[in-house]
């Protein structure tokens, strides 16, 4: 039983920051690390806190968080979605097609694109539920299927003549906060409420924690899997829309494989269990912020972007190891209390 202990209800008194880091909520620990890094980076290079840098960082984080959420909703069911990137590409090209070729009004194009994402996710979900095949294999296959299919249809040609409304929304900001970040926050709030305060969310978490017990308690697990994957597809499409807005053009070279690792990083660092049954929207946001902070900081300090990849990989491992260490300590404490 790894990270399933409800830290909020331990009764022993705290003893300082270290103890708080260990026994406090995982999100608090993340926030702490985040603040430390910000202080370090900004003291090493004042440009870190510039409006430009922060704006650019927040804009990319906005997309990353939604990508992470797309993965998170499937992780909640105990599965995974390797086709988030492929669905992203499909959505990017779809919105380009709807806007540039079909000349649909922006709101319709947006809804249609979300529909495309949802449909692709739905296909994943149905394939998994009906055939009983592992989500890893199904989404690995569908990733190839979707991206291959998309590239066949579009021949890989980017669409640059999109209506300016989308691009300007992407560049808009309210003070230091980009409009895209607000979209992300809105999505985050909805997801948080959905998971913790609605029947559907509870059922997803139950199915992820223990599918057998959930089914024997009357939850239609198959339906839950389909819904989760459809939602995942829609979120991937939403992220794709935000990315297109940011770039101002629909390019098939973005999203795709680039999204797979970050889609896991943010939620897992933030406390979403890989095995299912436990999610944290706040954690995913903090996780994405952490990764973006590190990326931005290293860039500003002019440590090559090439070495960034190495660092990210190492960091992911370190973050997870720390989380496990925390969980083990909590377990041991519980035993001593007997």
């Amino acid at each position: 039983m790894r990270s399933c202990l409800n830290d909020k209800f331990s009764r022993t008194p705290s003893r300082g920051i270290a103890d708080l880091l260990i026994r406090g909520s995982a999100r608090f620990g993340l926030l702490f690390i985040l603040l430390v890094l910000w202080i370090v980076f900004s003291s090493l290079s004042p440009g870190f806190l510039s409006r430009f840098n922060l704006g650019s960082m927040f804009r990319s984080v906005a997309v990353d968080v939604v990508v992470g959420c797309a993965q998170m909703v499937v992780l909640a069911t105990g599965g995974m979605n390797l086709s988030v990137g492929a669905i992203g590409v499909c959505a990017v090209m779809s919105v380009g097609y709807f806007l540039q070729v079909l000349n649909l009004p922006l709101p319709i194009a947006i809804l249609a694109t979300l529909g495309v994402g949802g449909l692709l996710g739905w296909l994943n979900g149905v394939a998994i539920a009906k055939t009983g095949v592992n989500s890893f294999v199904v989404t690995l296959a569908s990733a190839s299927l979707f991206s291959g299919g998309m590239l066949i249809l579009t021949k890989g040609v980017p669409l640059n003549a999109l209506p300016p409304a989308l691009g300007s929304f992407g560049r808009m900001s309210f003070g230091p906060v980009p409009a895209l970040a607000l979209v992300t926050i809105a999505i985050g709030v909805v997801l948080h409420i959905a998971f913790f305060h609605t029947t559907l969310g509870r059922q997803i978490l139950a199915a992820g924690a223990n599918a057998r017990a959930a089914e024997m308690s009357g939850i239609r697990v198959n339906r839950i899997v389909v819904v989760a994957h459809s939602l995942s597809g829609m979120l991937a499409a939403a992220a794709a829309l935000m990315l297109t807005a940011r770039l101002g053009a629909a390019m098939p070279s973005v999203a795709g494989d680039d999204w797979v690792l970050p889609s896991f990083l943010a939620p897992v660092i933030g406390g979403t269990a890989l095995s299912g049954g436990e999610v944290s929207v706040v954690g995913a946001i903090l996780g994405a912020l952490l990764v973006a902070t590190i990326r931005s900081g290293l860039l500003i300090l002019q440590i090559g972007d090439f070495w960034l990849q190495l660092f990210l990989g190492v960091f992911l491992l370190a973050a997870i190891m720390f989380e496990r260490y925390r969980a083990t300590l909590m377990l041991r404490q519980q035993v001593r209390r007997l």
Partner: protein, 318 residues
């Protein structure tokens, strides 16, 4: 004759083999270029790398784990062997040996991390993949190594009739893996751990050791694939390995491996690679959009898995 027929039907890969034969016949009718010596040489050479890549993942599936760093590891070995020969002037053999060693060490790191930290192998290899790719980029700065010694290039281009000399490597590896998994104690122990790790542990088999060993083998195979890729291309491209992940899973799965572990088919994996190679060749010959290969690969995986489940559930075969 009947016995042979029965044998073929029971084997999972017999269907794929039939498709390959049918496809080959069809292709040779449609386009005469298919049956040329050159075409066969090219086709066989391209499957050399894929076979090793597929084996690299197959070993992991055998022990019930997975290795997401196959591509990154292979790519790293590729630029190491290229870099040693180009930038440092090493002769071919020591460079190859060093690159293989790196592969083994990298695999050991994967295994050690998985076992020591208890973190899911999925996450561990996802992280190390990023790390290896980073090191790759850091060394090459995205610039390939071109200056390779002629004997190495000859190895990559050489042929006997239409058989590429490169093919020797996957053939030898196939033989060794076949013996390893069917007749060696170590290999059987790996499959035992994959089949039921609790039972294996209770029988005194070390699960940690099995995981580490399989990662080392996987790393070696991935590195070998990287070296072969350099030989095939004639230069060490930093992009080698970037698209290996899908085929590394697709081939063993289509060939009949079980995702839960303990059940792999060496013959099936090879045949699956041949199928993909044939499809790729067909795409080129028929001047079809190369994206079709990606699309078909996804479809193939789904069909293969569905068929496997159908057989297991309804026919109680296998």
């Amino acid at each position: 004759m009947n016995k042979m027929f029965e044998f073929a039907i029971r084997r999972q890969w017999s269907g794929i083999l039939a498709v390959i034969i049918a496809g080959a016949i069809g292709l040779s009718i449609v386009t005469p270029a298919f049956l040329t010596s050159f075409n066969w040489f090219v086709m066989l050479r391209s499957v050399c790398v894929s076979i090793l890549v597929a084996f690299s993942q197959m070993v992991m599936l055998g022990v019930g784990q997975m290795n997401l760093s196959v591509g990154a590891l292979g790519g790293l070995a590729a630029i190491i062997v290229g870099g040693l020969m180009d930038a440092w002037g090493w002769p071919a053999l020591p460079a190859i040996a060093f690159a293989l060693m790196v592969g083994g060490v990298a695999g050991f790191i994967n295994g050690w991390l998985t076992v020591r930290t208890g973190i899911n192998g999925f996450i561990v290899t996802l992280a190390t993949a990023s790390a290896f790719a980073g090191i790759n980029l850091g060394i090459t700065k995205a610039v390939p190594f071109y200056n390779l010694p002629s004997n190495f290039l000859a190895f990559g281009n050489g042929k006997i009739g239409f058989f590429p000399i490169l093919l020797v490597v996957p053939v030898i590896v196939t033989f060794f893996l076949a013996v390893f998994f069917s007749r060696s104690v170590e290999g059987r122990y790996l499959l035992a751990v994959g089949g039921n790790s609790t039972s294996a542990e209770l029988s005194g088999i070390s699960v940690s050791r099995a995981i580490v060993i399989s990662h080392v083998i996987s790393g070696l195979l991935a590195a070998a694939a990287g070296v072969l890729a350099v030989a095939q291309l004639g230069s060490a491209q930093p992009t080698i390995g970037a698209d290996w992940l899908v085929i590394s899973f697709a081939a063993p799965i289509i060939g009949g491996a079980s995702l839960s572990g303990g059940s792999i088919s060496i013959v099936g994996t090879v045949i699956a690679v041949l199928l993909v190679g044939l499809i790729q060749n067909a795409m080129v010959l028929l001047a079809v959009d190369p994206y079709w290969v990606t699309f078909l690969l996804g479809a193939l995986i789904l069909v293969a898995v569905w068929i496997n489940r159908y057989r297991a559930v309804h026919l109680d075969v296998d």
